[in-house]
Amino acid sequence: MAETAIELGDEGHVGVLGLRLVAQGEDWAELVFDYDPRLAMSVGSGIIASGPIISLIDTASGAAIIARNKKFRPMATLDLRIDYMRTAVPGRSLTARATCYRITRNVAFVRCEAHDGDPDDPVACAMASFFFTAD
């Protein structure tokens, strides 16, 4: 089956972070953004703030829902919970792979892991739910 086209665009916050889709499957999507010192939580450490990581996970989760739904439906995040495993190493790109494991008529459920190079050593794990705001 042909893959569903997922358009992230390059405007708004997605564009500022430089989020891009690198892979997708039947019910999953993988997004990445490159390290940028402007996204750090402190000047000294250079460690990336969690805000951009949540933006990455939130956007990847939406993309996974589109992949599973085989089409775009307008949606909004209902809730999102993140466990931080460790700090990301400054300088490394961050990748998030989100899987939409269930879609009901109105709600979609997603889990997502983010890593900075090794998928077996994640920096964050997340669970999120979304609701569709229109058909």
Binding site: G12, H13, L39, A49, G51, I54, T59, D79
Partner: protein
Amino acid sequence: MAVLPPYAEMIGARRDNSSGEPILTVGWQPDIEGRRGFIHGGVIAGLLEMACYEALHREFPDGVPPRMKPINVAVDYLRGGLMIETHAVAQIVRIGKRVANATALCWQNDRSKPIATARMHFLLDRDRAGTGQ
């Protein structure tokens, strides 16, 4: 926490402590837009987290704060964030020896109609003083 992090600057967050509360405010700008016409959910979560850090720093007014590591955060999105000013403030629910628990609120023109809430846990490393984050 004298200086806000670079990420705060990037999303345009600034402090507003005029009410006595450690409130953070973000003005509307295209860089924080998610789906068209609404603030990106990640920006709202990032703002809520920074508000938690602000509140936690207030627990150490005299001394050097311990190193603070985020353990987890749970965000509930209640309303879409419109293209207007957005505010966030947090309270420390409990601060223990090793773990602190915070709760945060995000609103726009009416504080009684929040657009998001969050709960956050921090690990405190009191043996290692840090810049806080």
